[in-house]
């Protein structure tokens, strides 16, 4: 696998994504780089690790460094769950009750009766971070209704559609494929 620095345009896309989540400071404290595979994978690591990648490169192929925080398209960054955990933990969250938490981790949608609360900026059809009552990001989902309508839904109706959750780790032979 080849690694490279972000191009100007890519850096702009990443900066915008980080700014949206008020996490722009990570651009100073950490090093971001791209691994071109089938997709454009964005990794984040310490400055020291990045220096070591270049310094200890002779005869050593790149396998992995730091954490994969997301994938980049021409205009957007799609965060991995670990990326979301670190960088996007303060916005676009919907909080679920413990029972809903376990069901979500087993791949199920979030039902209206499981919703505890939400961040004020979420809207219908938004892609949201599903979090437990402690604020840990459990996965990513799509809000099926506006937050105001959720409290009026029948308890068994779906409030958030499961797009990806951290239970994938258990379901896929404990190999965490940076979802």
């Amino acid at each position: 696998m080849e690694i490279r620095e972000l191009k100007q345009k890519e850096l702009k896309v990443l900066r915008n994504a980080l700014r949206y989540f008020r996490a722009e400071s990570f651009l100073r404290t950490h090093r971001f780089f791209i691994v071109d595979n089938k997709r454009k994978n964005i990794f984040m690591c310490t400055h020291e690790i990045y220096e070591m990648i270049t310094e200890l490169s002779s005869g050593i192929d790149f396998m992995w460094a730091g954490i994969k925080i997301g994938e980049m398209s021409s205009r957007k960054v799609r965060f991995t769950l670990e990326g979301a955990y670190y960088l996007a933990g303060k916005r676009n969250r919907i909080f679920v009750k413990p029972k809903g938490e376990m069901l979500f981790l087993y791949g199920r949608d979030v039902l209206a009766s499981s919703v505890l609360s939400w961040d004020k900026d979420v809207k219908e059809n938004d892609v949201v971070f599903v979090a437990n009552k402690h604020g840990d990001i459990l996965g990513i989902g799509r809000l099926t209704h506006s937050p105001e309508r959720i409290s009026n839904l029948e308890p068994h109706e779906t409030a958030v559609k499961n797009l990806v959750d951290r239970g994938e780790y258990l379901r896929k032979n404990r190999l965490y494929d940076a979802f």
């Binding site: 050593i60 730091g66 670990e82 955990y85 376990m102 981790l105 951290r166």
Partner: protein, 305 residues
């Protein structure tokens, strides 16, 4: 003695010279206690303990502040496990990273890192700063290593795939090196009897040769004044005291005594006619009955400044 050990008479004969007590075989045939370590990169020990205490009975591991024995089924079905707030790790295998004495901005080499329990533990002690080169020779084992690095959120780890001996060419490069060497896995028999069936003296001797080459390479890569921790999860002296003796005989290395609140056995200073350097007495030899853990051997080696 449990009948299962009769299935490998070569093992029984050899281990009568290492520890032939009924207590040893009694513990060797019992399943291991489950234990986990709190991932300090994502949470605090007291927070996680509070979250888990309703469902599970936890007992503190005396030699690792963030480590706990756990009773009850289903710890790996909890959100805490899935979210990477805890890492399932055998209690004695928490010792090597614990005694490596890492500081946040150091350069660390973990020579045989998969599946990453110790790598992620070191990363937590370094507060996600500095850098750790986590190496493993097998591609198939790198997947699980990368998975765990990602899941635990370690941004200070670089994974490499090399024969550990390759790192001998990096002279005086790393502040700390962990060599948790490939071994005959006798300590793991409590986890899986397969390791008893696989055990052969011939393999022990081959592994001993490999371990001597690995420890020499590790020592070369270590900075003067640095610390090298050598560990295995086996109890054969050829893979433990003899390997440390080999290093002491061929270099200016020294061994530091490991002081931790746990029981241990005296290391061997001679075995089957071979005499070892007296300093191997400072190593830590843990038999299963000592602390009701996996069998383990650990040496803390210093390179003179």
């Amino acid at each position: 003695m449990n009948e299962i050990f009769q299935s490998n008479m070569e093992f029984l004969r050899k281990y009568s010279e290492i520890d032939g007590t009924s207590e040893f075989y009694n513990y060797m045939s019992q399943p291991l206690r489950q234990s986990f370590r709190v991932n300090l990169l994502k949470s605090k020990t007291d927070v996680v303990v509070e979250r888990l205490s309703d469902e599970f009975q936890l007992e503190k591991i005396p030699w690792t502040e963030e480590g706990f024995f756990v009773e009850g089924d289903g710890i790996t079905n909890t959100p805490e496990f899935v979210l990477g707030l805890i890492f399932m790790q055998e209690a004695s295998s928490m010792i090597p990273a614990r005694i490596l004495d890492v500081k946040p901005d150091m350069h660390i080499l973990d020579m045989a890192a998969s599946p990453g329990a110790k790598t992620t533990q070191i990363s937590a002690y370094m507060m996600n700063r500095g850098c750790i080169v986590a190496n493993d020779v097998k591609y198939s084992r790198l997947n699980i290593l990368a998975s765990n690095v990602q899941k635990m959120g370690c941004v200070n780890v670089r994974i490499t795939m090399k024969d550990g001996r390759y790192f001998g060419k990096f002279r005086d490069k790393f502040d700390r090196i962990l060599l948790d060497a490939p071994c005959s896995n006798v300590g793991m028999i409590r986890k899986n009897y397969r390791y008893l069936k696989l055990w052969r003296q011939r393999d022990v001797e081959a592994l001993s040769r490999l371990q001597k080459e690995l420890i020499m390479a590790a020592y070369k890569a270590l900075k003067p004044g640095g610390i090298l921790v050598y560990s295995t999860c086996t109890l054969d002296p050829e893979e433990n005291e003899e390997v440390v003796d080999h290093l002491l005989s061929n270099t200016d290395a020294d061994v530091e005594r490991i002081k931790l609140p746990l029981k241990s056995h005296k290391p061997f200073t001679e075995f089957r006619g071979k005499c070892y350097d007296k300093r191997v007495k400072r190593c830590l030899r843990i038999h299963p009955q000592d602390n009701n853990t996996e069998g383990f051997f650990i040496a803390k080696i210093l390179k003179s400044p």
